[in-house]
Amino acid sequence: MQRKFIISVIAFFIPVIVGYYAVEYATLKLPLHYTYISAYLKDEGPSIEVLALGSSQVKNAINPAFIDQKSINLASGNQHHDSDFKLLKQLLPQLPKVKTVLLEVSYSHFELPHNGPNFWKNTVYLKYYGVNNFERQTYFKDKLLYLSFPKFFSKKLKSYYIQGEDTFGFNKYGYDTLKYAGTFENLNYNEEKISKQKVFKINKQPDLEIFKQNTQLFFEMLTYLQEKNIKVVLLEIPMYKTYPAQRVPEILKRRDSIVQLAKQRYENVELFLQETDTLSYNAIHFWNQSHMNPKGGALYTKSLNEFLEDLDH
């Protein structure tokens, strides 16, 4: 009877396991920017000098190909300072030559909650960078990429394998040089049409409690980098001109005061603030109101490169 039960259970679960394995395998084979970054980290880690961290705004804005010093961009969508800090602490031993860290201080960074130990990308960090951001021992399930966010990966699987969308232009740094398809491209970069778009993603909810927690961790991160004798460049990434107009003054004022305080307190901190530079960047440089496209990324990274060069001299 037991034998029969066990055989039945095995027979039942074999298709489940095989099916899941196929999905997981297909997910791993997706062209994701993490794959390229992981390979680059492995190959070039010991000689990397500049490390960029942050959210999708930094991910889109910095193309390491335009930085003269050997650089890596570890920014990714929704990645907050707590994830940045954990990545930093665990990856620095693999990056002995890093002398500059680029940290994002976006308008909403200090008043949006941290990712926390249950952030789905912790699986990604574990799988591709070998970094444990779970704040606990990891288990087999933590390495299952598809299960970390089935909705997200199902969409990716569908568009890549079924709809045949495979126009990725990842360079060796994991930067997608063909990522133009988005809100602004759909509007033909027409400034008049863009200006009519009043609703887009922007945080308008001030939160003093979150602000206190976030600034505490932010300063811990700066202290950590100061102790390691690593230069820090705080970045405010350029936004399309309709974005700054919608910022909530209370959130903005607090963010600006923290940025200035960081500059005063830490000798190793430099500022590269271009959030409101609406002269150098216009519609053709953006993917949407708060993200640059590869063209904008190239322009921005070149000016960042000049800034980094100046810092060195």
Partner: protein, 456 residues
């Protein structure tokens, strides 16, 4: 368990599995679990062996003090210190009693209640203590129900460790089906509803009365599916090991009064507080009048609220339920004709409206981060604030809920809808149903959502 090994080896394996399971979360708190088990084990024997009533009482109080003590330290200490500091600072007196930076050991509220009832039952002569330490350790730490119940009585669960368990094909199959059903409830209903509920509750000023009321109703279902989903998994897992646990829920949303609701919701907790708090309290009085019963209900339900967590919102939740239960027992409609007796005979629409109105208010207290947040939501609901709409995001989530309600209503006499499925559906169709549920669970799982009741 496979084969018919001796009872001791079965229990040893179970104990190791249970400690391993608990230790995976945080091994440091294993010591507390073991200490708690040992204290109650020896207290139980001492109560039985003591010849004098005073000695029995001392041992009983040792057990109760220990259990309530660790509950207080880990769960309530910071709350009281915080309130104490706040009270004195509002009076202009500076106090600086430090908040203790400690997490609540998972399952603490469940296993302390389980072991406390063991000592009390021995003291009351309702059961004999076990002399077998291994069996007792297994009873306290039995992993399927360790972290979120059901809260089992020693009289029911302990004897199951005392006999050798043999493999039961049907029970094992039912166990697997129940686990699958639990997964469906947790992943496809509770977690999905959770997204909509979180949106509304974390940002109430952005939503109108209708949306907030709707969110409160959804939250009732979220908690139900979350907690009963876990219970199904716990009961199902226990079945695989040859154990029977109590079902903690009997389709509570079909209740026609709040009295009925508490007979269908978290049943093992309701029974526990009835037997160990409500009855002992009312029996202290010479005459059990309506006033005494009302007082007993208010006290018991407020404690039930506080059991859920150290926050004024939970106290309000418990007290509010106590008030409603008390009202339902007052004979407004002539001698012995109480609301609790009248309501079940009223049209479904009336009882349903009453039930959801009360549970929604109750849910708001339960879910809100603070009392002021709860008031804000009430204010917006009762002033008919009309900002925002019920988004399609919320509407889509309802599909799973509708499926669940239909399945449960069609199978009200069963413990769970997939029970005894083999009697109605041939194997290929059954397996197809299982595969569909598994695919849905894997495909539509949201990024990690913890079980709500783990925090209690």
């Amino acid at each position: 368990m496979l084969g018919s090994k001796r009872r001791t080896s079965q229990n040893t394996l179970l104990l190791l599995a249970s400690y391993f399971f608990y230790g995976l979360w945080d091994w440091r708190f294993l010591g507390l679990l073991i200490a708690s088990s040992l204290i109650d084990y020896f207290a139980g024997l001492a109560i039985k062996n003591a010849s004098r009533k005073t000695t029995k009482k001392i041992w009983l109080f040792t057990s109760i003090l220990w259990n309530l003590g660790i509950l207080f330290i880990f769960k309530y200490f910071n709350f009281f210190v915080g309130e104490f500091n706040a009270l004195f600072s509002s009076e202009g007196i500076a106090t600086s009693y430090t908040i203790w930076n400690v997490i609540i050991p998972i399952g603490l509220s469940f296993y302390t209640f389980q072991t406390m009832s063991y000592s009390i039952d021995i003291y009351k002569g309702r059961m004999q203590p076990t002399k077998n330490l291994l069996e007792f350790l297994c009873f306290v730490s039995f992993f399927p129900q360790l972290v979120a119940g059901p809260i089992e009585r020693a009289k029911f669960l302990l004897p199951q460790f005392e006999k050798r368990r043999t493999f039961n094909l049907q029970q094992s199959k039912e166990g697997l089906r129940q686990i699958l059903w639990g997964l469906f409830k947790k992943v496809l209903v509770a977690d999905k509803l959770g997204i909509a509920v979180t949106l509304a509750f974390e940002n109430p000023e952005s939503y109108g009365a209708l949306t907030l009321t709707f969110a409160a109703v959804l939250f009732s279902f979220q908690v139900y599916c979350d907690f009963s989903g876990y219970t199904d998994m716990a009961v199902g897992t226990a079945k695989l090991f040859g154990f029977k646990l109590h079902n903690n829920f009997r389709i509570p949303y079909l209740a026609k009064s709040i009295t009925q609701f508490w007979q269908r919701w978290h049943i093992t907790l309701t029974q526990w507080v009835t037997d160990y708090i409500y009855f002992p309290f009312v029996q202290k009085f010479k005459k059990i009048t309506l006033r005494v019963r009302v007082l007993g209900l208010l006290l018991t339900m407020t404690l039930v609220g506080f059991w859920h967590g150290a926050n004024w919102t939970f106290l309000a939740f418990g007290f509010f339920n106590g008030v409603i239960l008390a009202i339902e027992r007052i004979p407004f409609f002539g001698k012995r004709k109480t609301l609790a007796k009248v309501l079940p005979n009223r049209p479904v629409l009336v009882t349903l409206s009453y039930f959801f109105a009360i549970t929604s208010i109750s849910s708001i207290f339960f879910r809100a981060e603070s009392i002021s947040d709860a008031w804000l939501i009430f204010r917006r609901i009762f002033t008919l604030a009309d900002v925002g709409i019920i988004s399609s995001l919320i509407a889509w989530k309802l599909l799973y809920l509708v499926a669940l309600i239909i399945a449960e209503i069609l199978t009200t006499k069963k413990d769970f809808p997939l029970q005894e499925l083999q009697l109605k559906i041939p194997k290929p169709a059954r397996w197809a149903i299982y595969y569909v549920i598994i695919i849905l669970v894997v495909r539509y799982a949201e990024p990690k959502e913890a079980f709500i009741y783990f925090q209690f």
